[in-house]
Every structure is written in C-alpha cells, then in structure tokens.
Symmetry: C2
C-alpha cells in the first residue's frame, strides 16, 4: 500500500509556481459552487505518519481556499462531556453541514490504530472497529457527504532523517520531543497496523489516498488536485448519488404479522393500576437514585399509533424521576441546521450523557415509518436506515445506555373512539389535527411499516416492546415495568464501588 509513496516523488519549483495559481483559482471556484449549488458536506481526513505533513496540509487548504468555510478539528484528548457520551458523539457533533468542509486531523481511525499499535487491543477488536468505521462512512456517503481520505506517508529512513534535521536546527529543535523518538521506535508496527486498517477501509465510496509527504511541493499539488477533482466531479454531476435498486420487502403470504398476535383485550382495573403504579414508580425512582446510575444512562424511545397514549405514558415515567436528570425530546420536523446534516445527526445531539434519562417522543424510526409511508425519502434511503439504526443503537448500548423502545399499539376502532373524544374535550383539542385524520387513512401502510421495523430492528441488545395500549392503564404499567426490568438488569453489570 505504501510502496508508491516511498519513491521520492518531487516537484520542481518552476512547475509548482506555474501550476499553483490556476489550481488555487479552480479550488476557490469549486468551493464557491459547493456553498452555492453543491450543497453537500465535505469531510477531509488527514492521517498518517507524524511529520509527513498533516498539519501543513490543513494550513495550506486554509490558505488556498476560503477559510471561512473550512473547519479543522484536532480531536485530541476527550473533554469530560465527550467522555460521558458514546465514542462517536464527538465526531457527530463536529460533522460539517452541507456546503462546508470539515478537516479532521485526529479521526475515527486514530484510536483504533494507536490502541492496536500499543497492544491495548486485539486484532479482532481492531477488525470490529474497522467494520464500524465502514458502516459509519457508508452512512455518510449515502447521506450525500463527500469523504476524501488522505494518508501522508514517510519511509522509515525519511522519517529518521526528518527528526534529525529538525533537531539540528536551533529554530525547530523544540518540535522534536522524546515522544517523537519513542513513536519512531514503533514505526514498523504502526506501518503494519495502518496498512491493514487502510486496506480494509478503502471502499468504493471513500478510498484512501496515500500521499508521499517528504516533498512539500509534491504533497501540496497532489492534495490540491485530488481535492479539486473530487469536488468538481460531485458538483458537476447533475444527478444525486444514483438511486440504487432495492430488493422489495415482502409481506408474509398469510398476512399474519406481529401486531395481529397482540392480545388487545388486556386490561387493568383502577385499583390494581394504582397499586402497580405506586410500586413501579417507586422502583424506578430508587433505581435512578442508585449510585451506579451515575455510570449509565437511559433512552426511552416512544413510537405508536396516533392517539396511542405516548404522552400519558411519558408523564407516568417523568412523575417518578427527578426533573434535573431527565429530558424529553419531542421529535418534530427537523430544523434548518438539522436538515444540513445526515439524518441521524439530530438524534445524536440528544444522546444523554451518563447519569441522565432521555425520553424520545417519536424517534429516529420516523425514517422507516412516516418518511417511508409518506414517501419523504426514497426507498433506498429508508431501506438502508434499518442498518444505520442498528449501528446507532449498538453504539448506544456499548456505552452503557439502556435503550428501551416501545411501540404503543391500539386498534383502528379504539383510535376512532379517541379521536372523537379528543375533539370534544377542551384541553385535549390541540391533540387532534387534520393530519391525524389523514394518517388514519393510511392505517394499513403504517401497519406494514411497523411490522417491517420490528422485524428488522428488534435486536437482542435493543428489543422492541410492543405495548397493547387499548387500555391506558395496562399500557402504562407494562411500560414502567419494562423500564424497571431493563434498568435493573443493566445495573447489575456495573460495579458498585
């Protein structure tokens, strides 16, 4: 992989001086078009051997292009807010919006590679990280992001020569630290691990470009030209990333589905309900006050038919919680800033940090429910969403987040009864809109979408709880009980200290 980047590539000054002005103008034009017409995010990764020109390249881009629309991210030590979230959270919050360029020095590759070099992880763990990275980048490119990955390389000899020459010059001596020489000692190991990582993540959508870093002019021109070509190609291709053929989803031929199997007649009388409510609210309250809760967090994700009773169920949960530690996220239409980002970005914004309890009133499943049924996105988009969502949830669960997903199911008749009731009662009037009546007409489409959703995203780590919600009391207790059980199970795995 690195052979071509150890050939001693060089560009002479005359050629360089001749080519740069044209290149620069073209880059500026491309950047202008990107912000005006292109309207897609650009991510540039700058990885590689120390001293091969990562930092210099970012400075160069800022010099050649309009630095107002480029944002560089160092991604060094994690802040404590970052530590209290899943590992990818810090990258999600730094993603460039449409029309802008984000440059990452340290990226999602840094930790997996460095940890493996230092033997803190096994080969299998590195491969798992690599797979996650591939999924992440696939999601980004599917969402329209242009990813350009530069790896700046120096041969071992060149690296040694560089460190020595820096040390010789009094002006640059400070730049060489003990750490640099220590790292140099693991050059071979680093090379081996990176090569593996690069090979496994050089995908059709986001291939690595290895650039020899020894000669500044060669490096600059190479980076500039590749960037220009990539930008131009995406801007000029009138088409969006071409729609892919999607294998159709099939309904079971006997039309029997998971919703049909629910026993919708289940009920709880008032007396039993009050006793259970007290019991489980008390339990939930105690659980969230356990010291171990400070090391975990909860996402309660609610979806359900219109008038399914999400709001009431949520209030029975919050009634048991300390208002300082929970946060309800009502999911409505995305804001302008959210529309400029990949679909899942607006949910990453609200991933709770440790010790917190976030309740989503509607969720990222909108993609495979309303957006599918109303055709707000293409079939390819919602089809890939199943995997993207599973990846997302895997990351949550891996970070000690208890993810409880509830679908509140009511029958079509019960929905009608509730709609009519709502229209009558004063303070419920705001709960029923024209749209609710329109959605009702698509009952069957929604039902099918729900069944596909359950089939494809009810996983061992994040199962769906289907809640028979014709009787509100029954539903509320089932939800509280499920929450308690799931939190309790997760808590047992956390050391008490």
């Amino acid at each position: 992989m690195f052979e071509s980047a150890e050939l001693g590539h060089k560009i002479d000054k005359a050629t360089y001086d001749k080519e740069v002005p044209t290149l620069r103008e073209a880059l500026l034009n491309a950047q202008f078009d990107l912000s005006q017409k292109g309207k897609f995010p650009v991510i540039i990764l700058a990885g590689g051997v120390d001293g091969a020109g990562k930092g210099e390249t970012v400075n160069l881009l800022n010099e050649w292009m309009d630095p107002r629309f480029i944002q560089a991210h160092a991604m060094g030590e994690k802040t404590d807010e970052e530590q209290r979230h899943p590992p990818m959270w810090r990258f999600w919050r730094a993603l460039p919006p449409k029309g802008k360029i984000g440059v990452f020095f340290g990226s999602w590759y840094t930790a997996p590679i460095v940890r493996r070099v230092l033997k803190q992880t096994s080969a299998a763990m590195l491969n798992q990280s690599i797979e996650q990275i591939n999924h992440f980048e696939k999601m980004l490119t599917d969402e329209g992001t242009l990813i350009i990955k530069f790896w700046f390389h120096l041969s071992k000899d060149a690296q040694e020569k560089r460190l020595k020459s820096l040390e010789k010059n009094p002006k640059t001596r400070w730049r060489v630290t003990k750490l640099d020489w220590q790292r140099f000692k693991s050059y071979d190991k680093f090379r081996k691990v990176s090569e593996h990582a690069l090979r496994e993540t050089s995908t059709a959508e986001a291939p690595w470009i290895v650039v020899e870093g020894a000669d500044t002019r060669y490096r600059n021109l190479t980076v500039g030209k590749i960037l220009l070509e990539a930008l131009r190609k995406r801007i000029d291709s009138a088409n969006k990333p071409s729609a892919k053929d999607v294998a159709p989803l099939h309904e079971p031929i006997d039309h029997l589905n998971v919703l049909d199997k629910l026993n919708m007649a289940q009920k709880l009388d008032k007396k039993k309900f009050n006793a259970e409510l007290e019991k489980y609210q008390g339990k939930l309250n105690l659980l969230t006050r356990d010291p171990r809760f400070r090391k975990m967090s909860v996402i309660a994700a609610f979806e359900g038919s219109d008038a399914g009773g999400k709001g009431g169920a949520i209030r029975r949960i919050t009634g048991a919680l300390d208002a300082r530690y929970y946060h309800i996220i009502p999911v409505a239409a995305p804001t302008e800033e959210e529309r400029a980002q990949p679909y899942l970005w607006r949910f990453w914004r609200y991933v709770p940090h440790t010790g917190h309890f976030n309740i989503f009133d509607r969720t990222w499943y909108g993609r495979v429910l309303v957006e599918r049924v109303e055709k707000y996105c293409s079939e390819a988009d919602w089809m890939r969403a199943y995997r993207e969502i599973n990846d997302f949830e895997q990351q949550l669960v891996d970070s000690n987040i208890v993810l409880v997903k509830c679908w509140l199911a009511i029958t079509k008749e019960e929905q009608l009864r509730r709609f009519k009731e709502r229209e009558k009662i004063g303070f419920k009037r705001f709960k029923i809109t024209e749209e609710d009546w329109r959605n009702r007409e698509k009952w069957d489409d929604y039902e099918r979408a729900v069944c596909d959703m359950v089939d494809r995203t009810s996983t061992e780590i994040a199962p769906w709880t289907l809640v028979e919600a014709n009787d509100k009391n029954f539903a509320r207790i089932k939800i509280l009980k499920t929450l308690c059980q799931r939190i309790e199970t997760a808590m047992k795995k956390i050391p008490k200290d």
Copy 2:
C-alpha cells in the same frame, strides 16, 4: 421581603381539588398558544430555601403541563467544557428558544449568593454580580423573553421542623444529609444575603415572587396561577413589548468624526511588508505556543467596509496559527435555531474555550451596523445593543479572553476601484454582489453608524483598532502587530507555573 411568606399560608383539600382541573386546562391552553402564537421564550427560576419545594414545583409543572415543551436545568457542578468558558456560557447554551419553557433550579443567582454566604466574596463583589444579573435579565426581557422568578421560602422554624420530620420517617431519612444541617446553621446569613439579592433584582421587567413553601397545595396553586396569569398576559397583549422612546443620537455639529481623522495615505512597500510579515507572524506563532496561552484565549473580531480586505487580513493571521486551535466564524444571516434566541446567543455559541483562537468575520456589531442602517431592528433595539455588547465583552475579558476588534476603513474611491477590479478577476467574482453595490449607496449612513459604534463600544478593556486599509500591506501588518501586542500584554498577567 419574606414576612408574607411566613404567615402559614394554607389551602384546604376541597378548594384545591376544585381549582386544579380548571387551572390545569388553562395552563395547557396557554402553553399551546405559547408554542403556536406566542412565540416567545419563557424562563422560570426556582430558587429559595432547601426543602421549600423547588424540585417539587418543577415536577408539578411537568405533570400539569406538556412536559415536551418544558426543559429543566439543574446547573450543578460545572463540566470542564463549562469551566473553559466564561461563567454565563452555560446559561446561554441552556436558554429556551421561542415557544418553549426553560426551568432553572440553580441559576445565575446561585453562585453569587452562596459565595457571599460562605464569605468567599465581599459585599461589593456581590453587588457587582447583582448589577450584571440585572443587565442580563434586562437584555432577555428586551429580547422578548418572559422571566418568572419564584423564590420558595420557609421560616427558620418551619425549616427545622421539616428536616426533623424527614429524619423521623424511615422512608425519607436518606434525604437529610449532614450538609443539610450544616446549611441550616447558616440560615440567618443565607436569608440576609438572599433578601439583599432579591431586593436588588426585583425589577419591573422581572420581579421576584416569594412563595411560602410549607404547604404543598398553597405552593402549587400559587405557582400555577401566577404562571398562568403571566403567560396569558403576554400572549394576549397583541402588541410586542411596547416600543420605547429613544433619545436620538447626535452627529457632531462640525461633522468631524473618528474616521475623518485617519491618515488613509499610509503605505508599506513590498520589501518592508515581507520583513514585517515574517516578524509578526513568527511572533504570533510563538505567542500561541507559549504554555500560558493554554489558560487564555483570543477573539479577533473583524468589521469593515465591503471590500475592506477582511478576508486577506484573516488569512495573514491564520497563516501563523496551528489549524487545530483556530476557528473562523463567518457571520451571515442567522439560522432558524438562532432566530429563536436572543440576539447575542449565536455569538455565545462560538466563544472560544481556553487555548483557542476564534476569528469572527463580521460580528455582533451587525446589530448596530447593518441592522441599524437597513432597519432590520427597531431604534430601541440597536440603541440598547451598545450596552448589551459592552456587557458581553466585559464577560469575555473577565475570562482571560483577549478581544481585538478591528475596523478596516477604506475610502469611498478605493472601494469603487476594488469593486471594479473584483468584477474582472476570475476567482474573485464571488466576492462582489448586487448587495455590495446597494450598500455602497448608503455609505454615509454606514459611516455614521461606525462612528457611533466606536464612540459607544471602544472601551478600555476592548478598544476598537481603526485600521487604515487603503493599502492592504499596511493594514495587514497593523492588525498582526496589534494582535501580538494585545496577546503579549494579557499573557504577562498569567502566572507561568
């Protein structure tokens, strides 16, 4: 101040049960109207004596109203990201947008009061904090925020009784800690300090409401009714906060202004420029690599005539910096999320944390420049902005942020020359728009706005640097030199350790 809240207010159960359903419906309706029509942010502060019902009140609001549009903030220990920003940053980032309600348990009052009780600060320092709070709340209400400040009070006897009764009951014993009894010992001191703070911050726009906390029913009904009345009043008053009479600004009768006094003929030849550029870029680079720089930060704020050369000047700065630590913020039209917040919110978002260097390409001065001239806001709005901006900048400087504000001045003739030149040169074409030509017609209005801005916001802590920019070389060096000097001076005050 607290006398009326020690009378032993009580509401009997029958009255309570009768009034609550109506109140609740009215609150829900008000909240609905707030999110649909009202469209202003609501801040509820819950302060007061421990155990007087702060937490219970927040839970109550969430139970009675739609919790999806209420967000509670605990504001306990600062995270390290919060520590690396000015003290008010954490509150700015938690402000509710239009149509929503934010409830603050710990608020901007907590630290000043507690510190004074613990004798960590002097009476004068408390008063200074109080003045800052008044400015802050004035700004919020001027921006249309409804602020409701509840102070929950318990007499000393009631407080003691409460702690003892909690201790007696095995179910609630855990709630009483040593810290509670310690705090109880400073009851008198706390009462005295809070009384002073409350009195001084009970303004016409945001008065404190002291509520006796002993009887839950009394407390709940009181809070509910006051909140309802406040919401209703603001929603129903068709008018926005009434436009105030504004004293007109006067131009000097001899029309001589600070811009006229600039010597616009100043120049720097290429040779001198290159030498100075190297010198000051080198110096700037060294300064930002000084270990002390990790404890401070820099904001370089650029304003100037169109085609004044901001972009070029910025690139000469970034050329000296490590791309990992600077961030350029191009200020354009506010996004949807930004428009739902007070004016300064979108700049607070980009206040650098320690060790970082943020460059604003156009700034918060837009309020008193383009928004004034183009009449995007009322006269009262931009008139109050001078003080709001001074308050903002005071907070920045108080947090070891070096604030360098540059106005790049060119003559009307030079602007014309540059506009024409830009239209000719390929990669500069995107720099000139119809709007630039339109703005040019208002040259005199802009000039007057600039002079008023300098008069009112060039302060000792954050002076304006007027840059004679007809000659780009001269301007760039003057800016670099100013930056170096200002950073150097600030750095001297930071201990080396």
